[in-house]
Amino acid sequence: MSHTPPAPTGPTPTGPARPPALRPPRSLRATAWWLADSAGAIPAALGLAWAVAAQAGNGPMWPAAALLVLGGAARALAVAQARLAGQGLAARFQSGLRQVLWPALLPSRMARGALVGEDAHLAVDTIDRTEGLVARFLPLRGASAAAPLLIALAVAPASWVSAMIMLATLVPFVLGLVLAGGLAARRARAQHAALTRASGLFVDRIAHLPLIVASGAEERVGRQLAGATQDVAHRTMAVLAVAFASNAILEFFAALCVALVAVYCGFALLGLLPFPAPEHLTLARAFYTLALAPEFYLGMRRLAAAYHDKQTGEAALEALDTAMTALPDAPPTVPAPTRLRGQDVVIAYPDGTRIGPLAWDWPGPGLHAVTGATGSGKSSLLLALVGQAPLAQGQILGASGALQPSAFNAAVGWAGQAVALPPGSLRRNLALGGAPTASDAAMHTLLESLGLGTMLARREGLDTTLDHRGSGLSGGERRRVGLARAILSGRPILLLDEPTADLDSASATAVRAVLATLARDRLVIVATHDADLVALAQTRCAVDAVEGGLAA
């Protein structure tokens, strides 16, 4: 269930220091507009006072109506502007988050072992969920501290005693809130684990409906679910009963503030105060004071209503912070190694799959093969070299000692199963590897030899516009564009995952020839099934996956 108890406005523990991009900004503009809304209550209260005084003394009524409309218009404008200012700030904050998070998340997804869906959720939905915190809660919090003072100041010239009464109610109010808030937080914490566990069951059981129905267990599961949903309702009510108590404290003092001011002013007007009158009140002054009394606590009531925004936003920032701290550190870049050796290398994924121990020695330019059955972990070895698979043991060595995986990424031309195509022309995509800009002719020749000639003819050649959605390229065509990019990059080490898969035999032969030529002056590593390609290789590293983990 999504329902979160509206917790109190009491003091909340401040979280640990976050990186600057994750610190939600304070919107002075939105706060100022919320205060302008409170200020708009002043002409409105003057209007009400004028109206009653005019009715009592037969004065003209139109100034009262004018003041009421003026105050109302000012408040309408202020509330609208406060929302828009908050929303604008939230949009800028979110844009800043994206600028920081996306460049960090995009290249590190595999290394962190995150699924595409998880990362998309984090990068899009989680950032969106900070809106209420920045756009509403924080500006309201700023205003809620200043608004009571503003109202008390506005009341003081008419009745300083009433202003003091209003301020005096703040003291027990804050004390009550701290007590109730602490109790509510303890109650919420005590139920938190059981509630999160049980509240997800409904969605989980529907998601697993095929399994449940195929097992013939729908009635039993249905009965359990009915019990679990009742249990969630009971537990939620236990939390709410306390959480609403802090709201009741707020309500009580808001009502008490009005009642005390009304009774004091009434008895002062009657001259029946049980002590000497500290000030002289008139009907207009008293009425103006009374009309402002409900405004004293309005800011805090609005803040309490926005508490859910705070919880959602804080949780989102927490999730983003966790993701940012989990980012792998990039090792210092090293020059291209001329030799790559592996000793006792084990790759272990968090799900328990282990690959290795593996050993290899690729002494310099040449063609080397990594072999093994589908799913055995051939790709994982290539991934480990560029820091995208977790290395649990062993060392990768260059000509002069240990190498940090990913430290030599700038020397690697990569062509894998999935190909990233940033929006742009085919020419630009092919040249993304950097290095010497290849001529159009060289690009054409290579693409022809990779069997992409018909694609070039069908589209607008090298000017064909590509984007991340594939732009009409088949999966195989995309992968060959990736292969061409790796080759054209001119980088001294090529890591190629299944370079001859999905090619017809003529193209495969052409690719093998291209790779054999490249291997004269570059270190070409291929993970492959292709026996003809393996036959051309100088060394062969065989890989087989072993599941370990808890069961090992």
Binding site: A76, R83, R98, L106, D119, V203, V213, A217, T229, D351
Partner: protein, 524 residues
């Protein structure tokens, strides 16, 4: 349309009525507090001016006691309104969840595509949450309406013109709120949803090839390419915020105009004007809040429709088929296998082996080959006719959020812990469970998040073995296992098949596992 909340809320009649009574009382107290306070002040001022005699004649005890009583009543009844309103809504929606599950389960059983329902889980979760929110808001709505009516009643002594001014003002606020909410918001909400979906889809597309991005340093280019979508989403969000701000501003402006009109048109003594103006001021605030209900109404209506219809359209009566008597034969791609046969489906990846198994088990109906169970097309028998005879262990090895025992108990009613232990041993999952801190009672997060793929697969296999169906359908049961464990699993499974005479339909590319089958059906 049937309101899916009607029956469950009727069962919560007690708390719901109490909550509504509290809401009415809270509204009356809030309007009364300000109204009486205003009347008391104006009356006191006039009496004060009238001299000592007028002061003695003025009954100040009653109103000042009334003010204090209203303050306490407002607090207490608002607490009751919130607590009881939430109570009614929470328990009513607990019922909705349970009955919705039962209905969808029936639909999944009767229809041809149970897999479809599973994919809708997140949407049903959101829809029910929306209804819960709407049920809570119903009570608050009653309070706002009561406040408006109370203010109207308190305006009566000021003459018909003032009453008319307030009534027109209240009406105008509702009309404006509704018109803006129904005409402008749905399109803007939809724009935002589309912009959001487009951004999420693009991000997912771009995030796929992470290695290319890392090796070629493409992250800045990708971020820049996504900026346009992000800006479109921000623009949609800003447009929605503008519309919502406009709704609020219009409500505030109309409320002020209403008060001004009342002041201009009122006829009567000052205390009664004070009473009516402050009562109206207290009522107009929750009245303006009704506009927030309007902006949610379209979403709530759609959610209610989806929930009311869930399961109804799918429940076509299945063609009457003679129930399969005894243990049925299986016919796969033209070859018929007697009970107890051990068959392997062989073919390249992507040939549709998984789809064939799922069609045979009644989970879908789109395998293109000739299939029969006991001589009948499985698509005609349906899941209801098939499930007593076949147990499928899907490749994804789904586990429900619950304990290991909860997962095993799905297989059939009345499984004791000894039977569970035997099945776990057969599936080579006993050592997996032994390493879990709570053993069989270990809570597994959603989809067995604590376990590796191979471990989940073995627990799912144990569940399939426990089901006691005469045909076992296994989809890649040994994927992710090391060779030793796989060999052990094959030995135990082979012995169990011999002992029980259970038939096997297997999809596996691993040689050791494949050796369990003695017949091969090519799937191309």
């Amino acid at each position: 349309m049937i309101d899916p909340l009607a029956a469950p809320l009727a069962r919560q009649r007690g708390p719901l009525r109490a909550a509504m009574a509290c809401a009415v009382l809270a509204a009356l107290a809030a309007v009364g507090l300000l109204g009486v306070a205003g009347w008391f002040l104006a009356g006191a001022a006039l009496a004060g001016l009238g001299g000592p005699l007028a002061v003695t004649a003025f009954n100040y005890l009653l109103p000042s006691a009334g003010i204090r009583a209203a303050a306490i009543t407002r607090t207490a009844s608002r607490y009751g309104e919130r607590l009881l309103g939430h109570r009614a809504a929470l328990f009513a929606l607990a019922d909705v969840r349970a009955s919705l599950f039962a209905r969808i389960a029936q639909a999944a059983l009767a229809g041809n595509a149970p897999l479809r329902w599973g994919a809708l889980a997140a949407r049903f979760g959101r829809d029910v949450d929306l209804l819960e929110d709407a049920a809570i808001r119903r009570v608050a709505r009653l309070g706002a309406i009561t406040a408006g009516l109370a203010a109207l009643a308190l305006t009566l002594p000021l003459g018909w013109a003032a009453v008319l001014a307030l009534a027109v003002g209240l009406g105008a606020m509702r009309l404006a709120g509704r018109a803006l909410a129904t005409q402008r918001l749905p399109a803007l909400q939809q724009d935002l949803a589309q912009a959001h979906a487009a951004l999420a889809a693009d991000y997912a597309e771009m995030a796929g090839p992470a290695v290319d991005i890392a090796v070629y340093g493409l992250a800045p280019a990708m971020t820049a390419a996504l900026a346009e979508r992000a800006a479109a989403q921000a623009a949609a969000q800003a447009a929605l915020a503008r519309a919502e701000a406009a709704i609020t501003a219009v409500q505030a402006l109309l409320a002020a105009l209403t008060l001004a009109a009342m002041a201009l048109l009122a006829q009567g003594p000052a205390p009664l004007l004070a009473l009516a103006l402050l009562a109206a001021m207290a009522a107009l605030e929750p009245w303006a809040g009704l506009a927030a209900h309007d902006s949610r109404a379209p979403d709530v209506r759609l959610a209610a429709e989806r929930i009311a219809q869930a399961g109804e359209t799918q429940a076509q009566p299945a063609a009457p088929v003679a129930l399969l008597a005894g243990v049925p034969t299986l016919t796969i791609a033209g070859t018929t296998f007697a009970p107890g046969a051990r068959v392997r489906l062989d073919g390249p990846s992507g040939a549709g082996k998984t789809r064939l198994l799922e069609t045979l088990a009644g989970l879908r109906g789109d395998a293109p080959r000739a299939l029969a169970v006991g001589g009948h097309d499985p698509r005609v028998l349906g899941l209801a006719g098939l499930r007593a005879h076949l147990a499928l262990m899907p490749q994804a090895a789904p586990l429900i959020a619950g304990t290991v025992a909860d997962n095993l108990a799905l297989a059939r009613p009345g499984i004791d812990r000894a039977a569970m232990a035997r099945a776990l041993h057969l599936a080579c999952a006993d050592d997996v469970v032994a390493t879990l801190p709570d053993g069989l009672d270990q809570w597994l997060g959603s989809d067995g998040a604590r376990l590796s793929g191979g471990q989940r697969r073995r627990i799912a296999l144990a569940r399939a073995l426990l089901s006691g169906r005469p045909w076992l359908l296994l989809d890649e049961p040994s994927e992710g296992l090391d060779l030793l464990t796989e060999a052990r699993l094959c030995r135990r499974l082979g012995a169990w098949l011999d002992e029980t005479g259970t038939g096997l339909v297997l999809v596996s590319h691993r040689p050791a596992m494949a050796a369990l089958a003695d017949r091969v059906v090519p799937v191309l």
